[in-house]
Amino acid sequence: MGWRLTLRPYVLIVPALLLTCGILYPFGLGLYYTLFDFSASKPQPDMVRFENYTTVFTQEAFWNSAWVTVLYAVGAALVETVLGVAVALLLHRSTLVGRVLEKILILPLMIAPVIAAIIWKLMLQPSVGVVNHLLRPFGLGGVQWTDTPTGALLSSIAVDVWVYTPFVAILALAGLRSLPTSPFEAAAVDGAGWWYTFRRLTLPMLWPYVLVAVIFRFMDSLKVFDIIYALTEGGPGDSTVVLQIRAYLEAIRFQRYSFGISYTIVLWAVVYLAAMVLVKHLGKIQRRAAEVTT
């Protein structure tokens, strides 16, 4: 009986372990490939050690992609956080309008990002798109949304914001609804104003929830692919070529497999560093929030 008790969890977990290994195998294989100069034109590759990586880091194209990726991720995460928290605060007032609208809050979030990009692509088309049509009365009918470098980056961030703001709003709203009431009652008795209450009570206690949302959004947008692929394909020029798009172009379009994977391994390392920093920060924030409530 005793030995069976200790063995059982392992028996239950083995299938998942096997499946995990099945996913880890291609990942390991990818790492291995990056040490070679493997491409479609060179099916018998030679060992090049870390040459792929040194090439990546000395390429202008890589640093451009890294810069674009960071701009996209910071921009998207920032706007989504501010807008999402604002929407959550407004919904939390629970007026009749709010209660009705809350039911449909999640709709954009459940639309595939690639479909969202297709929808916006149709709307942002400069000559026949509906957005410029609606802006025409204001004298803004000729905006070249996705045809200028800055416009393309802002447009793709806008699609990201459209899809993912509900994500932040839902988590922030759950946070607001789980806050203890006694500190707020005490503040009201002391005659604290709205702004003071928000800065000193709501925000610090809400931070842990918001930060979870920020971590998810920032790390997801570092590896954005779908939205850029459908909306701009990295263009115009290479103004929206984020790292995953660059890796796709290298590996799939130009069939330089090893080199393409090297790009994704570098991105993977960046995502992991970001995750470690953010999760550490989350622990601190959670402890601080606990202090506010007591």
């Binding site: 969890p9 977990i13 998942a16 609208l101 479909i115 297709i118 799939i252």
Partner: protein, 274 residues
């Protein structure tokens, strides 16, 4: 008086956000119902027709959209079923026992959620060609585990952890075996959680784009890739693109509205509970 004006302004701000959130969907409905000759001549006045849908669902553009739709269903359901069969026991074990390696496995799974997909897809693209899994259901179901398995294991783990172990212990005292305690006591209690997480995993699998883009070409291609093909050509057919986009978002939207209550836990991987 000031308070009432402020409240009114807050509601107005909320309505403004929702116009931004919902207008694109409404505009797709309008575009998809437009006849081809009124696509660019007018914006909001037109004589609605279902021709766009007939064309898309009648495969008449050389794009077998109905088959893509079925493919999406098959691979998404397949991925969820496989993840449940494998993931439920693992989630239960890691919630009930502290043992060597379980945390490592859990965090490895969680790391899949944040790994750049192409790190795994590019080697698979090479591997699948060799193994004959390229453009097949099996290949797609396998790779979709990256999406569905971490979600199902992590969320079900948090549901199992919320159950008091006393119920199962009482069942054991009543002469149940461990297996019976799991199937007859623990599992029925987390049924709503299983239903919700399965639907959420289905939605994420359905919405995936990068896997079918690279690992399928025709036979196993899904709606997300298929919808993009309508944008091809020098005069993209807006009404068809809109119809295809709408058809492909119907399943996830319908399912999402049924699992609203469970979304917070699901979307945050159990980090936030409502």
């Amino acid at each position: 008086m000031r308070k009432r004006v402020l409240g009114w302004l807050a509601d107005a701000a909320l309505v403004l956000y929702f116009v931004f959130a919902l207008f694109p969907i409404a505009w797709m409905v309008i575009l998809s119902l437009k006849p081809a000759d009124q696509l660019f001549s007018t914006y909001f006045s037109f004589s609605p027709t279902l021709d766009g849908y007939r064309t898309v669902l009648g495969d008449s553009e050389g794009i077998p959209f109905v088959r893509f739709f079925v493919n999406s269903l098959v691979v998404s359901v397949g991925a969820v079923v496989l993840s449940l069969v494998v993931g439920l026991p693992a989630a239960y074990a890691s919630a009930r026992w502290r043992f060597k390696g379980s945390e490592n496995l859990m965090f490895t799974l969680l790391s899949f959620r944040f790994a750049p997909e192409l790190t795994v897809i590019i080697p698979l693209f090479v591997l699948y060609q060799k193994l004959g899994l390229f453009d097949t259901y099996v290949g797609m179901v396998w790779v979709l585990q990256l999406v569905t398995l971490p979600l199902i294991v992590w969320i079900m783990r948090s549901y199992f952890a919320d159950l008091t172990p006393e119920l199962e212990q009482a069942a054991l005292l009543d002469g149940y075996t461990r297996k019976q305690a799991f199937f007859k006591v623990a599992l029925p209690l987390v049924k709503p959680g299983i239903a919700a997480v399965s639907l959420l995993a289905f939605i994420f699998a359905w919405n995936n784009f990068v896997f079918p883009l690279i690992l399928t070409s025709n036979e196993a291609q899904t709606v997300t890739v298929g919808a993009l093909s309508f944008l091809g050509g020098d005069r993209p057919k807006y009404n068809l693109t809109a119809a295809a986009a709408l058809v492909s978002v119907v399943p996830p939207l319908l399912l999402a509205l049924t699992i609203q209550r469970y979304l917070v836990r699901g979307l945050s991987f159990g980090a936030v509970k409502s």
